[in-house]
Symmetry: C2
Subunit: 367 residues, 2 copies
Amino acid sequence: MTDANPYIGKRLEALRAKFDSQELDAILITNEHNRRYFSGFKGSAGTLIITRDRAALATDFRYTEQAGSQAPDYEVVRVMPGLGWLTDTLGGMDVSRIGFEADEMSVASHQRLVDALDEAGGGGKDGYSMVSTSGIGAELRAVKDPDELALLTKAIEIGDRAFDEVSARIEPGVSEVEVAWEIEKSVREQGAEALSFETIVASGPNGARPHHLAADRILQEGEPIVIDMGCRYQGFCSDLTRTIVLGEPDAKFKEIYDITLEAQQTAIEKVEAGMTGEEADALAREVISKAGHGEHFGHGLGHGVGLEVHEGPGVGARSKGKLEDGMVFTIEPGIYLTGWGGVRIEDVVVLENGRARVLSNAVKLTP
Amino acid sequence: MTDANPYIGKRLEALRAKFDSQELDAILITNEHNRRYFSGFKGSAGTLIITRDRAALATDFRYTEQAGSQAPDYEVVRVMPGLGWLTDTLGGMDVSRIGFEADEMSVASHQRLVDALDEAGGGGKDGYSMVSTSGIGAELRAVKDPDELALLTKAIEIGDRAFDEVSARIEPGVSEVEVAWEIEKSVREQGAEALSFETIVASGPNGARPHHLAADRILQEGEPIVIDMGCRYQGFCSDLTRTIVLGEPDAKFKEIYDITLEAQQTAIEKVEAGMTGEEADALAREVISKAGHGEHFGHGLGHGVGLEVHEGPGVGARSKGKLEDGMVFTIEPGIYLTGWGGVRIEDVVVLENGRARVLSNAVKLTP
């Protein structure tokens, strides 16, 4: 009995299909998200060593038992001080050109590795070469399989419930950071292991600043309050934004909110597989621009979500890649008015049969 | 009015004194802890560019205002897409050999930087050279100044209070993870921004395993319970371990506990500036070995604590560096018996006038 992930075989196959373009014989995976994605192993330390026909997971004594159970597609190698565990493993694998994740590996680690391989010898007649790779894992992870979708759905459910519970009891007089902390407690007590990013509670004028997190400002009746929040469940991230008002919204709020909501609903209804991220972005941007607020929507429509809270696909005004079935991303238009505040509404969707299915179910103000 | 740190000038002076050994004209600091230490800037993104007579802090639009206030010793440079902000800044600085933190910078970032400098030209008659450096910040940070000691003391006070409050209300029947979560809530509600590491609550046999964190196991009367916890306050880390028993301890517990406590007290009383980390370690190890448990104390006596929960100085059986006044480190001997559990007792001390002053004040079982 293992808690193995049945999709690992397919993920490895897709990874190996990328070897040809750089003539790789093997790749080392050290990024924590890619390690989990390609192996199923959930420990906090380890290196994957993947060739065309073998796959090894190297980790230290803390995790060797767990590695065997979570990653049965892999041979488990025990990491010891030094790099002998790696050069020995590679030495037995008949490989020469070894890819590594250049955005992940430090210059010092890379140098130690090159030195260790030189010293060990091997790698065929030309010796080993270390080959920079970039973005291979991120590219494959943009399309989700059923296992990922189930965990994303669960993360989103936890976030939705936290928002619904906490927002229902917010009253004027509490501070932004107090609201953020209530949300954090709620997701943790529901089983999330962490937040997926620091919670944003931006009230009144704070809502107009894109980098505002949560401060000591006291929430007041009638002002817009942007809450942007997410949690991490079994590694997968949720991401949700709602804009609320305590008490009765005024005409200004209703106007800005309704434009934003219409932009969001338009994008959700019209986005299709085969569109570029740029085209999806334009669906919402057009609604906001027509209402005269084009210059107040200063960010992209959304972004992919998965093991990272920001990952592929790109869904912004310069995203040239095509959206495909199985991709999971946010749709989150916003309007920001200096001195007044902001409105942003964000749901996560998955593309299925060419169209968006909304995964978020948190309460949303409707006109 | 700024919230500037008055020790930045001295820290920069100490950093520049390290330039000679590698003939550096400048150094780029990208590690988050070193960035904060050398500049006072608390934002989450930025690069320090430090020459013999100038210091610049490059950060993005979110942080430029905060950077000016927190780091008045620095010129603030606004980061824009690409690397022009960096090559322009360096171009105006009359430097050629530029150090970088090789353990921090990724291979891809390093390559982009080398390419951008090549393209920009400059760097004097031989052009620019990028020089690997390692551990410069860590080495300087091992000795604390009064500003750091005040923040460490505050972090430790928060941790102590959390332990005292939570441990007083633990009863048989709660789980390890429930205790860990109560501790986390307590430190956060006292103003800590985060845990400094995942809380360990290791009850009964779990306490014998060095990598155990906190699980669903239910705490029972009479068994040893190791609680190892820390929080982060204004960037600085606390670290505390206590071993407790619910109900009446038995003779076995008393025996193991008393040996561990004697080892800890001996080390606290006898450690002196000028000793090596290895000699400090031996003070406690000798007590445990004489009691017949040498092989059950399978880790070092302690480690430095500061902006990182594990930093210099080394205080273990292979630590050759000397302990100095101003260093802050843990003293945490332990005895681990497979099947029974573990006892570990940990305080943080600072060396002052040659001797250890204990900073931790959490309740400790005494014979």
